[in-house]
């Protein structure tokens, strides 16, 4: 009695899998013959061996850009800190000897455990010093401390 019900559910599950397989196969076959359909067959990417190419406007790990002489472009104006909705940025300013530069970040830490990758910091930056285009999306860490990234050292 009970075993019968289990078997029934098992077969139903197998049926769903089979349905998806055949439906996808139909769409892939149609594509192979150049027939355009509204729906496309599902694609499985074998991550992490296989990688999908990131969109050019994707947002990934932040980077702080440098000037031509290697100094950080950032002037520590803290507009990114101000605009950050998840309060994950921490910038400490210091005085540069060059009167044309004046202010540079002695510390620029992003707490990735809080970051929501909204990109507001990139938008707010008046000197185009922070970008989120490194393509680095594998940011997991075994310890929380590993998620506090000091960007001024990169």
């Amino acid at each position: 009695m009970k075993i019968g019900r289990v078997l029934k559910e098992l077969l139903r599950g197998a049926g769903i899998t089979a349905r998806h397989f055949f439906v996808n196969m139909v769409f892939h076959t149609l594509k192979l013959f150049g027939v355009r359909t509204k729906r496309r067959g599902a694609v499985t990417i074998q991550y992490p061996e296989e990688r999908k190419e990131l969109s050019p406007r994707h947002r990934s790990l932040h980077r702080v850009l440098s000037r031509e002489d290697g100094k950080p472009r950032c002037v520590a104006c803290m507009l990114c800190v101000t605009v950050c909705p998840s309060e994950c940025l921490s910038v400490e300013a210091a005085e540069d000897d060059d009167p044309e530069v004046q202010k540079y970040p002695a510390r620029f830490v992003v707490d990735l455990s809080r970051c929501c990758f909204c990109g507001f910091c990139v938008e707010a930056c008046p000197v185009d010093a922070i970008r989120m285009d490194t393509g680095e999306i594998r940011l997991a860490s075994y310890a929380r401390s590993g998620l506090d990234l000091p960007l001024e050292k990169r």
């Binding site: 002037v75 520590a76 104006c77 803290m78 507009l79 800190v81 101000t82 309060e87 940025l89 921490s90 910038v91 300013a93 210091a94 005085e95 009167p99 044309e100 004046q102 202010k103 008046p126 000197v127």
Partner: protein
Amino acid sequence: MSGMKMVGLKLDGRTVQAPEGTSVLKAAELAGIAIPHFCYHPAFEAEGNCRMCLVEIEDLPKLELACSTVVREGLIVRTSTPSVLQARKDVLEFLLAEHPLDCPICDKAGECKLQEYYDRHGLFPGRFVEAKEKRDKKVAIGKGLLLDRERCILCTRCVRFLRKVTGTGELGVFERGVRAEIGTYDGVPVDNNYSGNLVDICPVGAITDTDFRFKTRAWFLKKGPTVCPICSRGCAVVVESVTGYPLGIDERKVFRIKAGENPSVNGTWICDLGRAGRRDIDERRHVRVMKNAVPEEELSWQKALADVTARIRAVPGPERSAKIAVVLNSRLTCEELVLARRIFAESLGLGKISFADPKPGAADGFLLTEERVPNARGVLQSGFSPVLPDLDTLAAAEVVLVFGSHLLEHFSEEAISRALAGIPSKFLFSAHAGPLDRSAEIVFPVAVPAEKSGTYVNIDGLRQSFGRAVEPPPGVVPELEIFGCLANGLGLNRGEPDAC
């Protein structure tokens, strides 16, 4: 303003009354109409060099300066006609032609008049394609002040402040025309006790203070008005602090103290000692109860205070006057002093209540007074007659309660520790860490004046109540709460019971 003759004038179609002799700008301000201005400051005579306050006055062919036109009966003034708005734009455009777009690295950003007025009256696209003039960006003009000549709009507020208020006149305008710049005479630096006000009155970020420079941005600061506790003048000050983001979680820092406004005490100025008072709020603070000079993580002040009440109760009633000694200080608020009087003098009947205060310093003839405590008048009004403790009588006591660490200014550390050595119960209530901590059995962390609300009576007998300007660190309370708990513990409370 009674007794002052009022004149009627028309401002933007409204008929308003203003006292005779005031400027159109001031009259408009009284009527709630803000006229933008850079060089005008209520404390000085109008100079009229920035041309920002131009207004239209009926029957006069050209726009007139609101800051230096005195009100007359029947004057018809318009402050928002197209020609006035255009004049404001033009003045801003001329100023911005030479002003660097430094806002991201300028400490004044967020509270800058030029920024504010551009946003409100400007909003024109830049037309100047020529390179901006290069000038000195970092000129030390003395006392931690840095002058940025590119940012300077030559309003000469700083020059006039040093001539009219401090009378020291260290700054002047040198060269003429496009080369005009602010500078010191022969490099003699600005050196007076009111130099910090230059940063406050500079309408742009031309004069910055190294103490605040680049530490944070103006818009993060939470402003808490209070009364300055440094001397008995009782100036209005604003404590500007950040709690939490962008600092760490639960982190608190006081970044600066600025002058508040109180026409009957300090006007809009405060002295540099008052500004430096920010260190008192943040540095060397006790945040934990210490037992035998070891900070106790787990011990709350309430639990530790129960120990104090038990020791006081253990002294039999008739002996209390001789065996319990209390040292207070004149930084306590009137509310705290009244409670202290009820507990120690009236209920316990103590004879040995003494006061240990910071030593008097030199008065500077303007705001700073000799007494370096804020509430010496309040102490007298609360019924105390402050006398310095005598170490021998202190040594004869069994329970000693010391509030504040100013004993050290009157006696050597050895003398105090020798006097306290034989006393079985000695308790220190102090906001700051210091050598006295080693002599005390239990040290209680207490709030500094900026973390309290209360009342001070200043040198002229003016009673000023103030609220809490910054939150104290967790586990740190004002003496008022400690006195309240003490009263509860000793069974003196007749009102409603509180937390303890």
